[in-house]
């Protein structure tokens, strides 16, 4: 059922023109607005391609992707921060507004504050640590107050402590603002901690082999990691992930 309050993917198939290999097959997925969805799956199964199709950066070979949101209302965070090296943090974060001729310094400061990087607003990317760069990248993605936030393994290059801290900050941001989030990751713990719903793709060509809402508390803190329900859920998804490697 197609609705204006959800992102809808119907019978989506994706082949890359370079080698005509099938990357994604028969993807049917509804993402209601306000949901935090995580996509898991083995390397090369098409997780990032799926995310890029939702962003409108790729088109499906067959089927349709309906995203009733303007691209200006999306934020995208890549695996690496990808800041413009000739601009300082402030100038990087203001970029989406600058491109729309709609600069609002207060909202930029607000985004910087949200990710605790206001003090570094005049620093250049080469002066920042990996964690700070990612904070700036998240602030850039959120400066326009997007309705949809797409994240492609944003924390994979960070150390465990910073990764955990950013996970908590992202989760609490979602709890406060309830924006729609689609998150791609390799990390089971990240997926279980952050999401309301997890899907697992099989190995290439990626098909959805697991799709489940997680029955975990809304407010999530570090303590969740040691709870029985968290461990059981992580194990359950892990088993599907194991299956994903052999699923045809």
């Amino acid at each position: 059922m197609v609705s204006a309050n959800q992102i809808n993917l119907e019978n989506v198939q994706k082949k890359f023109s370079s080698d005509q290999s099938l990357v994604l097959d028969n993807i049917n997925l509804n993402i209601p607005f306000g949901e935090f969805l995580t996509i898991l799956g083995p390397s090369g199964c098409g997780k990032s391609t799926l995310l890029r199709m939702i962003a409108g950066l790729e088109t499906p070979t067959n089927g349709q992707v309906l995203v009733p949101i303007n691209t200006n209302e999306m934020g995208f965070v890549f695996q690496e921060a990808h800041l413009l090296p000739w601009r300082n943090v402030f100038e990087n974060v203001v970029l989406p507004q600058e491109l729309k001729n709609n600069v609002n310094q207060l909202s930029v400061d607000e985004a910087l504050k949200k990710f605790d990087i206001l003090d570094a607003k005049n620093k250049y990317p080469h002066e920042l640590s990996g964690g700070m760069k990612m904070r700036a990248s998240l602030a850039r993605a959120l400066v326009n107050k997007p309705k949809l936030l797409l994240l492609d393994e944003p924390f994979s290059a960070l150390d465990e402590i910073i990764r955990q801290k950013l996970c908590e900050e992202l989760r609490s941001l979602w709890e406060r603002e309830k924006i729609t989030v689609v998150f791609v990751t390799h990390s089971l713990q990240e997926a279980t901690f952050l999401s309301e719903r997890v899907i697992v793709l099989s190995k290439k060509p990626g098909k959805i082999i697991f799709d489940e809402k997680l029955n975990l508390p809304q407010i999530r803190t570090k303590k969740l990691y040691s709870s029985l329900e968290f461990i059981e859920l992580t194990e359950k998804i892990y088993n599907f992930m194991q299956g994903a490697r052999y699923e045809k």
């Binding site: 962003a55 950066l57 890549f78």
Partner: protein
């Protein structure tokens, strides 16, 4: 800072002193290699026209280099807009790299006459290719995720060029400019050999008069001019890239 200038000057002083002794002791005949003191004499007192010639060559080189830089960057931007345009026009850019300027300089005289226009044209032909090639490489190497980001934010082509592709290409443009700056001086002097005026004419005339001291002085001034150009681009490069690019930190 001092050592930056002293170290390169030291070999010049040592070689000059050795040459002075070798010429004064008639080890080298002075009609083949002039004594450095004689070259300095030419530079300082005898020949005011030499300095006038330097002024003419400087003007032609600055014009040639500036036009090469502007046209080269614009041409590279045009080539970067599509693979088809690059395939069609890039071979013509290579023409500037491979053409023997000394062979077509007489044609330039026929088309543009004697004087500045021919000399500037010669300077452009010799110096434009490094700007085109390096700018194109810089424009083509823009990171794909950043291009995706600009697409996602519905950036128009002008913003994508001015706020992403050109700043990304700037280090490459400056590498091209550095190479091109020296070539612009060479191109101008070659043009002056055919079209007259400047250091090129001084060298040509002095050669026929067996005045190797003037030839040496003229070559020395040409080298200084090329060096001044190079240092200027180096300064601009440091000023624009120091804050963010690894090559100038």
């Amino acid at each position: 800072m001092k050592s930056k200038f002293i170290y390169p000057i030291l070999p010049l002083i040592i070689i000059s002193l050795a040459l002075e002794i070798l010429v004064k002791t008639n080890f080298f005949p002075s009609y083949l290699v002039p004594a450095p003191s004689q070259v300095f004499k030419v530079l300082s007192f005898e020949n005011l026209s030499l300095w006038k010639a330097l002024g003419q060559t400087s003007l032609a080189s600055i014009l040639g280099f500036t036009i090469s830089l502007v046209l080269g960057v614009l041409f590279a931007i045009l080539l970067s807009t599509s693979k088809l345009i690059e395939k069609v026009f890039y071979p013509y850019a290579v023409f500037f790299q491979t053409v023997p300027i000394i062979a077509i300089a007489p044609l330039l005289v026929i088309w543009l006459g004697y004087g500045l226009p021919t000399i500037v044209a010669s300077s452009i032909i010799v110096s434009i290719f490094p700007v085109i090639a390096n700018t194109l490489t810089g424009l083509r190497s823009t990171e794909k995720p950043l291009l995706d980001l600009f697409r996602l934010y519905s950036a128009n082509p002008k913003d994508t060029l001015l706020k992403l592709k050109l700043p990304f290409a700037l280090p490459s443009v400056l590498v091209g400019a550095r190479i091109s700056s020296g070539l612009a001086v060479i191109g101008a002097i070659v043009g002056e050999f055919i079209a007259g005026g400047g250091i090129g004419e001084v060298v040509n005339v002095s050669r026929t008069q067996q005045r190797v001291d003037i030839v040496f002085a003229a070559v020395f001034l040409a080298a200084l001019l090329g060096l001044a150009f190079f240092l200027l681009i180096d300064f601009i490069s440091k000023a624009t890239l120091k804050a963010w690019h690894a090559s100038e930190r």
